[in-house]
């Protein structure tokens, strides 16, 4: 991973804007920002962003690669799409934030222990295994993602919810074994593998 990071640093010779344009989902939009700040003001998690979107765009233009990619700001995106609908320049900000987050993760620069980063990975693994999300496994995995003792605490904290959900048949312990799934999981996984391969090739991550 980190040699991938090195590889990218060399390839783009410190031109971070160009790197973002070619490697980050919807990255070619970054240059269109006119620094009005409406995105930053529209974010429901706003106060939790060390660097709000419009500032991140400016940092990208100023080449502050390290600060941007190691920041946990992008991970604060709740995908509410407020920024997108209000942006006077039509930047797909939500997707750019997702893209930056993903890219940072691939480069191995995403902050360790970033809960959303972990959850996102769990979610992905969970869904790709069977093609459908298994909420119970996902839930438990989530609670235990910070180690066993942490997990016990969280599960206890969450047990009432679990109970409520179970009582109302909106959660089923039997899910632990079997549970929902696509039939053609092989096919699905083949598709995902292929897609990943194409994408990796595109962003110079072949073999990585």
């Amino acid at each position: 991973m980190s040699d991938y990071n090195q590889q990218m640093i060399e390839q783009f010779r410190g031109n971070f804007l160009k790197e973002v344009e070619s490697n980050v989902e919807e990255g070619e939009w970054v240059k269109m920002c006119m620094q009005c700040g409406v995105c930053s003001g529209s974010c429901p998690f706003g106060p939790h962003w060390a660097h709000p979107p419009q500032e991140i765009f400016m940092m990208i233009r100023e080449g502050e690669r390290e600060q941007v990619l190691t920041s946990d700001s992008m991970w604060m995106c709740t995908s509410c799409y407020n920024c997108i609908v209000r942006c006077p320049r039509g930047l797909p900000i939500t997707h750019i934030m997702h893209g930056l987050a993903t890219y940072a993760k691939r480069l191995g620069l995403a902050p360790k222990e970033q809960p959303t980063a972990k959850f996102a990975q769990l979610f992905w693994d969970n869904l790709t295994k069977t093609g459908r999300v298994n909420e119970l496994k996902l839930g438990l995995a989530l609670y235990f993602m910070n180690g066993f003792s942490e997990g016990i605490k969280t599960s206890l904290k969450m047990k009432d919810i679990g109970l409520g959900m179970w009582k109302t048949k909106r959660l089923n312990p039997m899910e632990m074994v079997g549970g929902h799934s696509c039939k053609d999981t092989k096919g699905l996984q083949a598709i995902l593998a292929k897609a990943q391969e194409i994408e990796d090739a595109k962003i110079g991550r072949s073999g990585a």
Partner: protein, 750 residues
């Protein structure tokens, strides 16, 4: 002009009949006003009423028409008769609408109306219909000074309308600054890419146009005359001079790029790799289709940084206090020079406020971003030579960080300095023109102004067009942007205000129209704006003249020169008919056929002055017809009231007020005098630019006269009144009434 025969017509409509004893007014018109015919009518502006007047003009030989009805601002289309003098005695807005309809007020209201009828008849007795002084031999040829984009456009557009043009250009080629540009900011949708400057095409079209004569390497050695009959000596470098006549002049003398060597703090001079925008155009032109090289060592430019507002929008000594308007777009265009050659070249634009207005501007900005130009809100802290290009330190205002950049080239967006010739008011400010000094303080002198004259006018008041601010020759720049203070001479392009090529082309086309208009006006002996169409013009009695020169000094339009015997020499087609000369003349020898010391003086004399014990004071109100008088009209319309003692006389401009009117009024027993003119000073609204200012200056001297008469100085008040002062204007009259209440009646009643 045949014997004056007055017809007075008193209207009974709009409540006049109910509120006034109109038959008494008829009698007054006949007995005191010496009206040959006096009639009342129920509805004077109706077909029948107007026909009645027409018949009297046709059959009875009436040639002086007094219409005692509504304000001169109403029903103009109805009361529009040829070949006669018309007086609009204002009984509606001027009397019944500003007085309460009560029994105790009836008497004074009637007295008001009676006085106005007297005044109307008195005025018209001394009016003559102006006889147009047509100049059939007036020249239609238009002189364009300057061969840049503005000048070329003006010349071509005038020629396209069928007018012959002589274009005088100082240098050896047409095109001016635009000719030095590689490309221009786009003028056409989608406003995405730089366009050809069009200079070559324009020049070719001019060469090809047989109506246009081009004089290169030429300047104006001497310019005299007036619209329709300007005479200019066109001098060539080779020393030959020829004289030609012109109908009008367009000054398109353009601008000089600001001298960047005054900006060492931005690195100019420290390294050749810091250039101004014109410097960059030169580099790009030198590069042809190839890569742009940096001046220091010819290395290909890979990183370039543009600095906006270089030495502009700044009160610092030697900087330009204004924004030059075009620089943001120009820098975007110049960054595109690089991006269009090679997308990988880093182009960064450092700005504080990016100014790309309208649809063309904002589209071009977006296109610049599209092409990968980086925009940074920031301010330069330091530019130094790095031995390898330049090292720029700047504050990124968004990130609130100081950032260092090594770049191959720094481009300074410096501003425009108008090429407006001699600042005649700085050279010799007549002691009366106090206001100009503040204009100076506001940066007027922080802008270096070239000393050589552009026009070399032989005008008494100086060689060039007066300037407004920062050396720009602008005038009434909001409503009437073309009105310079030299009739028939129109400034256009960046000499008027900073502007980009697109506005310069619009501006020059408009200026061409104004020049054409000046020619047509001169042919018919018609006044130009704001008294467009006025056929009257001032004349003076040489016998009486003491050669004091006040008229020649005070004319806001430099219309009056001096002849060899030092007598004033009126240049009619330069005159705007404001009457400031008439107001200035201490011996009262200047007058218009239909506006003179008498037409007003006689109105003042003919007001009935009750003796002291009647407790009926009289207040003379001299109101500028442009703003104060309409304000009083609208006050009446909106139900405001003012003192029954007031007698209002509209004047063309407060500048036309001759102090004799004030002293005569006081001598003959008026208790107070109120003068209402337009705002003066830097943001003047006076339509004759200096008239109101002159009046205020003259009135500031009236105190001596008052003390001689030993009258309280509160009896004369001079105000700046705006057309919107609908409450204030009547209020000022009422204040005077109260003042008189306090200090008592004038002792000068007989």
């Amino acid at each position: 002009m045949s014997e004056a025969k007055i017809g007075a017509y008193i209207c009974k409509g709009c409540g006049l009949g109910d509120r006034l004893d109109t038959s008494q007014l008829v009698t007054i018109a006949e007995r005191e006003g010496k009206a040959a015919i006096a009639r009342e009518h129920d509805f004077l502006c109706s077909e029948a009423g107007v026909q009645m007047i027409r018949d009297d003009i046709a059959n009875e030989g009436v040639n002086r028409v007094v219409i005692a009805a509504c304000s001169r601002r109403a029903k103009t289309d109805a009361f529009d008769f040829d070949g006669v003098c018309i007086n609009r005695t204002n009984l509606r807005e001027g009397v019944i609408w500003v007085r309460p309809d009560t029994d105790e007020d009836r008497e004074t209201t009637q007295e008001m109306a009676a006085d106005y009828v007297r005044m109307g008849c008195a005025e018209i007795k001394h009016m003559n219909p102006p006889t147009p002084n047509e100049k059939t031999d007036a020249s239609s040829r238009i002189l364009v000074v300057g061969g840049g984009i503005s000048g070329m456009t003006a010349a071509l557009e005038a020629a396209r309308a069928g007018y012959p043009v002589t274009l005088v250009e100082k240098s050896g080629q047409l095109g001016g600054v635009a000719a030095e540009l590689v490309k221009r900011v786009p003028e056409r949708a989608p406003y995405a890419d730089p366009e050809d400057t069009g200079v070559a095409a324009l020049a070719a079209e001019i060469e090809a146009n047989e109506l246009i004569e081009v004089c290169l390497n030429s300047t104006l050695a001497r310019t005299s005359g007036a619209p329709g009959c300007f005479s200019a000596d066109i001098a060539t470098e080779s020393g030959t001079t020829r004289t030609e006549n012109f109908g009008a002049i367009i000054q398109a003398s353009g601008f000089k790029p600001y001298d960047a060597s005054q900006l060492p703090e931005l690195g100019y001079g420290k390294t050749p790799d810091v250039v101004d925008q014109m410097g960059l155009e030169a580099l790009v032109r030198a590069a042809g289709d190839g890569p742009v090289k940096r001046p220091s060592d010819g290395k290909e430019v890979e990183r370039v940084l543009f600095v906006q507002c270089a030495g502009q929008r700044s009160q610092k000594e030697g900087h330009l206090p204004y924004c030059s308007g075009h620089c943001c777009l120009t820098s975007i265009k110049q960054a595109m020079y690089f991006k269009d050659r090679n997308r990988d070249i880093d182009t960064e634009i450092l700005y504080t406020d990016l100014r790309t207005p309208g649809a063309p501007g904002e589209d071009f900005y977006r296109s610049g971003q599209q092409k990968g130009i980086t925009f940074v809100k920031g301010v330069v802290e330091d530019v130094a030579s790095s031995g390898n290009g330049a090292k720029v330190k700047y504050k990124d205002i968004i990130l609130d960080e100081t950032i260092e950049r090594d770049v191959d080239l720094v481009v300074l967006a410096t501003g425009m300095v108008p090429n407006s010739g001699v600042d005649i008011e700085a050279v010799s400010a007549p002691n009366v023109e106090g206001a100009e000094d503040d204009a100076g303080d506001n940066g007027g002198d922080s802008v270096e102004i070239p000393v050589e004259s552009i026009l070399n006018l032989t005008y008494r008041q100086g060689k060039d067009i007066p300037q407004l601010k920062y050396g720009f020759t602008d005038s009434h720049f909001i409503c009437f942007p073309y009105e310079s203070r030299r009739t028939g001479i129109y400034a256009t392009g960046p000499v008027r205000r900073p502007m980009d090529m697109m506005s310069a082309i619009e501006d020059a086309t408009g200026a061409a129209l104004k020049a054409i208009q000046a020619v047509e006006n001169a042919k018919l002996g018609r006044a130009a704006h704001p008294r467009s169409g006025d056929l009257s013009f001032p004349s003076f009695r040489k016998e009486g003249c003491t050669q004091c020169k006040r008229c020649t000094v005070e004319c806001p339009f430099g219309a009056i020169d001096e002849d060899e015997q030092r007598y004033p020499q009126f240049n009619e087609s330069r005159c705007r008919r404001c009457g400031t000369c008439m107001g200035a003349c201490p011996v009262r020898v200047i007058s218009f056929e239909n506006y003179s010391v008498d037409t007003v003086g006689q109105q003042i004399k003919n007001v009935d002055i009750p003796d002291e014990f009647d407790e009926k004071p009289r207040i003379l109100v001299l109101a500028c017809e442009n703003d104060a008088y309409p304000a009083l009209d609208m006050a009446a319309q909106s139900g405001q009231q003012y003192s029954q003692w007031a007698r209002v006389i509209p004047v063309r401009c407060l500048g036309s007020v001759n102090t004799i009117w004030v002293t005569d009024a006081l001598n003959s027993g008026y208790d107070g005098v109120v003068l209402m003119g337009c705002q003066k000073g830097e943001n003047y609204q006076c339509h004759f630019v200096k008239g109101s200012e002159m009046a205020h200056y003259r009135m500031s001297k009236i105190d001596d006269t008052l003390s001689q008469l030993n009258l309280e100085k509160e009896r004369v008040a001079t105000y700046e009144v705006a057309i919107t002062d609908i409450e204030r204007a009547p209020g000022l009259i009422n204040e005077m009434a109260e003042t008189i209440d306090k200090i008592g009646m004038s002792p000068f009643k007989f």
